[in-house]
C-alpha cells in the first residue's frame, strides 16, 4: 500500500490532523506532569548532600534539555523549509522558537534559584550557564528577526538562515566558552561531577522529561494551527471553517 507522505505537508490537511492530535498530547502531558511532580516531590528521597533544594532538578534538567533539543529541531525544520520550499516546515520552525526560548528561560531561572542555596550566589560565569544564556540570545535573535519582517515568505527564509548559522555556531560557542571558563578558574564552581542519583530521583526526572516533550508537542501544534489560520486566512477552506463556526 502506497502511503502519501506528502498529504499532511499541506497546511489545510495538517490543520485538521493537528486538531486531532492536540487533545491526545495534552492529556498525556498532564498525566505525566502530575506523575512526575508526585514522584519528584513526595516519593523521591531527600538528598543527603543538598537537602530538599535538589528537587529543582525535576524542572531544571528537563527544561535545559528541551531548550537545546528544540533549537536543533527548529533549525532542522528551518533547513528543510529553506531547501524544499515547504511552507509547513517553516511554520514549524517559527512555532518552536517561543517554546524553546521559554524552556531556556526556565532553565536559567530555576538554575539560579538552585544556585543561591547551593553555591551561595544567584549566578556564576560557568561554562554551562553562559552557553545557556547565549542560547537564549540566539532564540531571541531568531524571533525578533521574524517579527521584524512583514512578508511571511521572507521571514521564513531569513529566519531559516539565521537558525542554521546559529546551529553551526553552537558547538563553536560552547567550546570557546568552556575553554574561556577553564582559563578563568578562580570564581567558577564545578558542576561537572553530579552525584549518583537514587533510582526514584532518576525516574521522576525522566517522567518530567517526557512530560516536557508532550507539552512541547501539544503547544507547538496549537501554535502551528494559529499560524496556519493566520497565513491561510484568504483561502476558501478557512472561509468554510468560519462559516461552520469552528473558527471565529
Amino acid at each position: 500500500m502506497a502511503i502519501n507522505w506528502f498529504k499532511y505537508s499541506s497546511p489545510a490537511s495538517f490543520y485538521s490532523l493537528a486538531g486531532k492530535m492536540i487533545p491526545f498530547f495534552t492529556v498525556i502531558a498532564i498525566i505525566l506532569l502530575a506523575a512526575g511532580l508526585y514522584v519528584g516531590f513526595f516519593i523521591a528521597p531527600t538528598d543527603f548532600q543538598q537537602g530538599e533544594a535538589y528537587r529543582i532538578i525535576f524542572i531544571h534538567v528537563p527544561a535545559a534539555w528541551m531548550s537545546m533539543f528544540l533549537y536543533v529541531v527548529m533549525a532542522f525544520w528551518a533547513g528543510i523549509g529553506l531547501a524544499f520550499n515547504t511552507r509547513l516546515s517553516a511554520m514549524f520552525a517559527s512555532a518552536i522558537a517561543p517554546t524553546g526560548a521559554m524552556f531556556t528561560f526556565v532553565a536559567l531561572w530555576t538554575g539560579s534559584l538552585w544556585g543561591k542555596p547551593m553555591w551561595g550566589t544567584w549566578w556564576v560565569w560557568d561554562a554551562r550557564l553562559t552557553s545557556e544564556l547565549i542560547l537564549l540570545f540566539l532564540y531571541i535573535g531568531f524571533m525578533s528577526l521574524q517579527a521584524a519582517i512583514d512578508d511571511p515568505r521572507r521571514a521564513d527564509k531569513a529566519g531559516a538562515i539565521i537558525a542554521l548559522v546559529g546551529v553551526v555556531n553552537i558547538p563553536i560557542i560552547y567550546f570557546s566558552v568552556q575553554w574561556w571558563n577553564t582559563l578563568h578558574q578562580g570564581a567558577s564552581v564545578s558542576v561537572n561531577q553530579a552525584p549518583s542519583m537514587a533510582t526514584t530521583m532518576l525516574l521522576g526526572m525522566l517522567i518530567m522529561v517526557f512530560a516536557s516533550w508532550m507539552y512541547s508537542i501539544a503547544i507547538i501544534l496549537k501554535r502551528i494551527r494559529v499560524i496556519i489560520l493566520e497565513r491561510e486566512s484568504h483561502t476558501s477552506w478557512v472561509a468554510e471553517l468560519q462559516k461552520k463556526g469552528t473558527v471565529s
Partner: protein, 219 residues
C-alpha cells in the same frame, strides 16, 4: 569583479570620509569611557584593557555594518549586482573585505594608542594589535550575514546587533584571551591560531550564507 568591487567601495569610502571617522571616534570614545566609569586605578585598568578594547572594536565594527549593503540597496546597485553573471558570494566577499579595510584597519591602527592609555606593556600591545588584525575581518564576514538579513527592515540597526553579537562571542573570547594569556605569562599562540582558523572558516562559509541572505532579502 572582486578587485573592482573593493576599489569601488574604497573610493566611495574616501569620498565620504565622515562615515569612517565616525566609526573610529566611536571606538575611541567607548574605550575612553571605561576609566571614567570604573575609576583611574591603573592596575585594574591594565587588567581590563584587552577586554575593553575588544568589546569596543566589536561594537564599532557592528555599528558600521548597516552601511555595507544599504546604500547600494537604496540606489538599486545591489539589484544589478545580483543580476550580474558573476558569483554573488565572491561579490559579498569583496564587500566584506572592503568593509574591513574601511572600518577594521583604522581600529587595528588605533588600538596600540588606546592600549598605551591603559598602560599595557609593549608585547601585550603588539599581541592586542595582531589579534585585532586577525579578528576584525571575521567580524566583517559574520556581520555581512546579519547586514544582508536585515536589509531594508524597520529598526534594522538594533536587530543586527541581536543577530550578530552572539555569533561574535568566540572571537571576543580568544581575541581578548590572547592578550590576557600573554600578560599572565602563558602561551598565547593557541588563541591566535584559533582566531586564524575562524578567519579561514568564515571566509569560506560567511560569503555564501550572506549571498543567500541577500537573495532572500531582495526577492
Amino acid at each position: 569583479m572582486f578587485i573592482w568591487i573593493i576599489k569601488r567601495d574604497l573610493l566611495l569610502a574616501v569620498r565620504r570620509q565622515s562615515d569612517v571617522l565616525t566609526t573610529l571616534f566611536f571606538f575611541i570614545i567607548v574605550v575612553s569611557l571605561f576609566p571614567l566609569s570604573v575609576g583611574p586605578e591603573m592596575n585594574l585598568l591594565r587588567a581590563m584593557a584587552p577586554g575593553i578594547v575588544w568589546v569596543a572594536a566589536l561594537l564599532a565594527s557592528m555599528l558600521s555594518l548597516g552601511r555595507m549593503f544599504s546604500n547600494d540597496y537604496m540606489d538599486g546597485t545591489l539589484e544589478q549586482m545580483l543580476l550580474s553573471p558573476q558569483s554573488l558570494s565572491l561579490l559579498v566577499l569583496g564587500k566584506a573585505l572592503a568593509h574591513w579595510l574601511v572600518t577594521g584597519i583604522p581600529l587595528v591602527l588605533m588600538a596600540p594608542v588606546l592600549g598605551i592609555q591603559y598602560d599595557l606593556p609593549v608585547d601585550a600591545l603588539a599581541i592586542l594589535t595582531f589579534s585585532l588584525l586577525l579578528g576584525t575581518p571575521v567580524l566583517s564576514l559574520i556581520g555581512a550575514i546579519g547586514a544582508a538579513l536585515t536589509l531594508g527592515l524597520r529598526g534594522g540597526g538594533v536587530l543586527v546587533s541581536l543577530l550578530v553579537l552572539p555569533l561574535y562571542i568566540p572571537i571576543l573570547i580568544f581575541g581578548a584571551g590572547a592578550v590576557e594569556a600573554n600578560m599572565a605569562g602563558v602561551e598565547f599562540d593557541a588563541h591566535l591560531s584559533l582566531i586564524g582558523a575562524f578567519l579561514l572558516v568564515s571566509m569560506v562559509f560567511a560569503p555564501w550564507a550572506a549571498a543567500s541572505s541577500l537573495r532572500v532579502s531582495l526577492e
